[in-house]
Amino acid sequence: MVEFFQNVIAGLETGSLYALAALGLVLIYRTSDVINFAQGEMAMFSSFIAFTLFQQTMSYPVAFLGAIVFAVVLGFLVERIFIRPASKATLVSKMIITLGLIMIFNGLASAIFGIDMHPFRKALTMDNMTIGEVIIQPNAIFIISITLVIMAILFYMIKNTLMGIAIRATAQNETTAKLMGVPVSKVYSLSWIIATVLGAIAGVLIAPTTNVSTTMMAEVHLKSFIAAVLGGFGSFVGPVVGGFVIGVFDNLVGYYISLQWKTVIVYALLIIILIVKPTGLFGKVHRKKV
């Protein structure tokens, strides 16, 4: 039973990071129909900023907040410079732009920060707690908590604020939203900013595990994408649940069934789920009425 809880807690910790990154993907997709393939690379870049700031100041809060401020600027600039000028382009073209951004951010990061891996400290470095025989890292609790808090704020904002209504309206129908006076361009900017910040937080929080490097987000980005697909790209709750499911399921299958075959088993099951429910666990089928 100790092993079960140990695996579940670790799964929730990594799953919450997949959820954060997945939420960023879905936010952009819902508002602009674009899947941002560069989300992982943008998060990596923000993590390098956090690492650099930490080296300069030795203050974790400064590094963390610095990465968030940078992500705000980065998200804004990417939308204004790369995405908005291509607003009339096809969706495929926009997605290819985000593929191009992968190369740009990876190349820039290599050129500016170098190609070495760097260790990065945890948010909380205090001693582990033991409940029964289960070892719990305060940092794991912090990661799960901060993820839940961020998601709660985001959900509240989307449901109850004017900006949230604007985001939902743009997500539902851009033209109607425009006609109703919704500042669609601002909604796009805001979505990119929020998504980039979510990615940056995921990057900074996963960095102590993966180390800071140009390849640090590869696995997280892939899993967040799968979390979004599993939960449903059409829902804001789905990717969060998808992230947690993948994190926990990965560990339980690895421990109780087969470590070597866990990836195959987990993703085969996910494919089966998607065959049964193609829009994801929380996705809805939108039928056009004639």
């Binding site: 092993e3 140990q6 695996n7 670790a10 799964g11 910790e13 990594t14 990876n106 290599s110 170098g114 190609i115 070495d116 891996m117 760097h118 260790p119 400290r121 582990n128 070892i135 890292q137 996963i206 102590p208 595990t209 993966t210 180390n211 490097s213 140009t214 390849t215 590869a218 696995e219 997280v220 994190g247 990965d250 560990n251 690895g254 421990y255 470590l259 070597q260 866990k262 990836t263």
Partner: protein
């Protein structure tokens, strides 16, 4: 009349064509003999005063941190040899090709080196994917290939013109088994391995080593735990390892995964002696892994095949200071590149002026090289295992509180 003239013209044309072909073949048969004679004496890439060699490896992208110091080490040695007058009056010219750690680019690079640049030998090709992808070209052409930045065991059987230096992971796994049994007196071993060619060769070698030592029972099937190189969560393998209560854990993975595994050991306070591959025997690995696992890292032992005593490293350090004065990173990759060049040059000296491919291969087949950074490299009697003598070092803290590797055993072979 017109037909006759056309026929005549055609016959004349065929005659001229046949004549010119005969003339050409005649020319080939007379001056060709001299050229053939020259070919026997000097292979492609060799002139009176130079030997052109080629190398392939990652020099850009995410893995350039491996290739950059590696090729600098190689160039530092070759520059030093050239500045000292070369080998038998010939300066060594190095042609470098970047494969970005991609097998398809490695194939293009190898074709370019062999057919366009016409190099005499391929020295120090770096990276298992590229080495494996180009193996057939090297085999078919018969060009001497010295040192592979790869631990693939297949290279030991690739052919007469292949001269591996770096120990292969299969052999290293066998030697790890010897250390687990003889040094640690292990009764129960768990292997956490990277689920790719590196880890699989290692775990196979370890199992074979135990078998040859008559200790197969030490490693049970459930004690073989696979991890992915890009995994971000190592809870499961470490929990499983802990539940099996081993007295030694073999960590057969490269720096990224090993760092994650050590952090998980630290998290659950799993204190047990560990042995890891020579690929992690570098200060850059300690700098990466130690902050996340400051306590359990002192349980870590690493295999090593390069004799990194200060007096042995002095020529390398001096050459690096001279030729790459701005380079602050001198690590295991630099040493590996140095050894690659050192081994090739040892063969070149042995071959003397007989610089045909056959001549070089013959010379290498008689080589037992003990003057370099590696303890011993021998290709006598068709041996192709590369370096077989390895030692075990333990991670420990020095007087200043920094983590270092401390040599614990002599350099030994698996026998």
């Amino acid at each position: 009349m017109r037909n006759y003239s056309k026929k005549g013209l055609s016959l004349a044309f065929i005659f001229v064509l046949l004549f010119s072909m005969t003339a050409c073949s005649g020319e080939k048969s007379t001056s060709g003999k001299a050229k053939e004679k020259e070919k026997v004496e000097l292979a492609q890439g060799v002139t009176k005063d130079s030997v052109k060699i080629g190398t392939i490896g990652v020099q850009s992208g995410a893995l350039a941190f491996i290739g950059t110091p590696y090729f600098e080490g190689m160039e530092a040695y070759l520059n030093k040899v050239n500045d000292d007058g070369g080998v038998n009056g010939r300066k060594i010219e190095l042609v470098k090709k970047d494969d970005e750690f991609k097998p398809d680019k490695a194939v293009q690079a190898m074709e370019s080196l062999v057919y366009d640049d016409k190099v005499f030998a391929v020295v120090g090709q770096l990276g298992t994917p590229g080495v494996m992808a180009t193996e057939s070209i090297v085999k078919d052409e018969g060009i001497p290939a010295v040192y592979f930045g790869s631990g693939a065991k297949q290279l030991t059987k690739s052919g007469e013109n292949f001269f591996p230096v770096q120990p292969n992971y299969y052999y290293e796994g066998k030697l790890m088994a010897k250390y687990a049994v003889e040094e640690f007196k292990a009764k129960n071993v768990v292997v956490i391995y990277q689920n790719d060619d590196v880890g699989r060769d290692g775990v196979e070698g370890f199992a074979e080593g135990l078998k040859e030592l008559g200790k197969s029972g030490l490693l049970k099937e459930e004690g073989k735990l696979a991890v992915g190189a890009a995994d971000t969560d190592f809870t499961v393998p470490v929990q499983k390892a802990k539940s099996l209560n081993p007295d030694v854990v073999i960590v057969y993975s490269l720096a990224g995964a090993t760092t994650g595994i050590l952090k998980e050991f630290e998290k659950v306070n799993f204190n047990v002696p560990m042995i890891t591959t020579y690929s992690n025997a570098d200060a850059s690995f300690l700098a990466l892994a130690a902050p996340g696992a400051p306590n359990v890292i002192e349980n870590l032992h690493v295999m090593g095949w390069v004799d990194a005593k200060p007096e042995k490293l002095k020529p390398l350090m001096d050459a690096m200071a001279k030729y790459f004065p701005n380079q602050k990173v001198i690590n295991a990759y630099t040493m590996a590149g140095w050894v690659a060049a050192e081994t090739f040059v040892a063969g070149l000296k042995e071959a003397g002026d007989n610089l045909s491919w056959e001549g070089y291969i013959k010379a290498m087949n008689g080589l037992t090289f003990t003057d370099g950074l590696a303890p011993e490299i021998s290709y006598v009697k068709g041996k192709r295992e590369g370096v077989t003598k390895m030692a075990l070092s333990k991670v420990t803290k020095n007087d200043k509180g920094a983590f270092i590797f401390e040599l614990k055993t002599d350099y030994t072979e698996f026998k």
